[in-house]
Symmetry: C2
DNA sequence: GGGTTTATTGATAATGAATATCATTATTGT
DNA sequence: ACAATAATGATATTCATTATCAATAAACCC
């Protein structure tokens, strides 16, 4: 039963906020959990549409946003292209290596860098909350 | 004579590419050099407009882009807000601390982080070209 | 200088992603 | 079942960015 816990968390968040559980939310969340990470609204909409052509783009968009609010998902914006969403729950924080040729995303994490970032912020009287590190270049296949 | 060298570089780039030097380019470049860093197209357009109301928004936009192509300027995109442009020439590479409250940009650089990024990329068979590190949080005044 | 070529300009339109609107539908608590 | 109201889905709007195009003006040649 993959994703059961995630579904409960989402459902819980919805109740807490006085929102309502709907058939569409369930369908969209399940599709999101089954799909690739780094999916756009449009991608997810197209997947959902296959089995549920009655569900609209706006609903997919709204629910992805809601998943972000609930902490389940995270929105990633790269340049001017469409925002991508990835499942956050159950995944450690990570940054991305992004191939300039094929668009591949490689997830990485480096504790030393993370710690140095905090130190760097503090040295500048700055209280860090979150950060974004993206390294652009060429992946193994494309170099 | 601040900016003389920059102007020559821009002018040189224009000739190399078979483009043309214009009155507007000169005015826009000078305004950019005199203005704050981290300026938007609209900001620069409004500055230029004061003395030169005949110069259009599109021309300011195109020339900021051209400055980027020539390596003089750099475009910074934060979230979905308007792109900002900063003078690159004569400034070392740096990253930004960005205040979530007042929007302040603090320029920082950390050699250790820079080196670890290269190492991290290489460990993933990835050839790094450029990167973007943004730390969001609260500045001294806003924390 | 005069003439020719064509890059540039400026006003405006087009684009595209994200979000807002709103009448209708569906969920929740009673 | 009922009332209240959140959610939906189709569509419109927003907003930054980029494209279009007729008019203008650099740059080069003579
Ligand atoms: Mn990180
Ligand atoms: Mn850096
Ligand atoms: Zn690649
Ligand atoms: Zn601040």
């Amino acid at each position: 039963m993959p994703g059961v816990e995630v579904k409960e968390i989402f459902s819980g968040h919805i109740k807490e906020k006085g929102l309502r559980n709907t058939r569409q939310r369930e369908i969209i969340l399940e599709a999101f959990l089954s799909a690739n990470k780094h999916i756009t609204v449009e991608d997810l909409f197209n997947i959902v549409k296959k089995k549920h052509p009655e569900i609209g783009y706006a609903t997919v968009h709204r629910n992805l946003k809601l998943m972000c609010e609930s902490g389940l998902a995270e929105e990633i914006k790269i340049g001017t292209s469409k925002a991508k969403f990835e499942l956050k729950y159950g995944h450690e924080h990570h940054d991305h290596l992004i191939c300039l040729n094929c668009g591949k995303f490689i997830e990485v994490n480096d504790e030393k860098i993370e710690k140095l970032q905090v130190k760097l912020a503090e040295e500048n009287d700055f209280q860090p909350v979150r950060h974004k590190l993206e390294i652009y270049g060429f992946c193994k296949k494309c170099r």
